[in-house]
Symmetry: C2
Subunit: 191 residues, 2 copies
Amino acid sequence: MTTITARERLLNAAVEAFAEKGFAGTTTRDIASRAGMSPAAVYVHHDSKESLLFSVSLDGHRRALEVITSAAASSTDPVNRLRVMVYEFSLWHADNSRVGRIVQYEYHALTDEHRAEVATYRRDIEKAMQDALADGVDQGVLDVVDVPGTAFSLLSLGVDLVRWFEPGGSRSGHELASLHADLAVRMTRLR
Amino acid sequence: MTTITARERLLNAAVEAFAEKGFAGTTTRDIASRAGMSPAAVYVHHDSKESLLFSVSLDGHRRALEVITSAAASSTDPVNRLRVMVYEFSLWHADNSRVGRIVQYEYHALTDEHRAEVATYRRDIEKAMQDALADGVDQGVLDVVDVPGTAFSLLSLGVDLVRWFEPGGSRSGHELASLHADLAVRMTRLR
DNA sequence: ACGCGCACTAAGCGCTTGCTTAGCATGCAA
DNA sequence: TTGCATGCTAAGCAAGCGCTTAGTGCGCGT
């Protein structure tokens, strides 16, 4: 069995609260009570409300980068690789829509130092998608006029899921991720 | 010349503040000082902080719907109509990224009644895009397997601009809107 | 000259905020 | 049995919150 520490319970509570009400709209008392603890307990395990946000955001950025990096390594065929990358990136955002919402929408609430640190993961994610497109163009398989812009657009499909996606809704994450992957191929394949 | 009333100055100040700090992160004192007035002046012209948000959000939704509706009426050719709709919708979100951010990200901060009112505009926007795709399929010009999902994805391209777009950045709104329009046609055109 | 209404402000009320302080129960080593 | 570290809480502090109240200055019709 995996034991959940008090520190992790507070992090989970913070994810729920931040995703539901936003960082500024969440009180430390709310986080504490979701974790079944007193307001002061938050400060036994975490330095501040912002450091709770940073922990959640940093972990979320790392996991998103890991998803797209391993997808990029999954295939050598540019079309198939792109399909897998878009599928996995969108699926991750659907399956982790609460963390994703914090990653995407509470970025500005981080301190300057913390924002700069997670920004490196964002650049790596964009670079992975750009590299996949550029490689496909080099191999004469993809037709992409604007590589950075198209990379951004492909990532937007996944990112925008966190704005409205709820698990248990009428469409599954797999269904949406498959759609995005198909659209991505149509957008970029050379005819 | 157009005269700007105190009420409008407060609305403009609220747009700036909400877009920059979010609804919960903005104080009524901040709005007042951006408008060059005392904190109490807010309540001379508006009922509450939330009614300020509702005014901004409602107007933003109306303008976005107007943009996509008139784009839909601009052409009878399904491919060209889709191109114009996606172009205009994305361009509006780039040119109005601050209002767009409030429309998209502060939706949950509205009261239940206000959110329900604004939701009708969202449904109309989605329906306009779905109708344009369905009509193209009916005319045998477009190939769209999942009409609602694809409509959502096309709107996502524009909506996601508000997350990061800043006027005066390295890419113009026109440039990005053109890219989105091209991608939209590639995504949906029958080959 | 005067009175009235309107746009606005100074001051502050009751409450909530992030966070701190002081202390208490438990478990464990000696 | 004692001593102490650990993990937590009760209570509360200073600051800031949305919003109200009571009033002030000014423009305008008469």
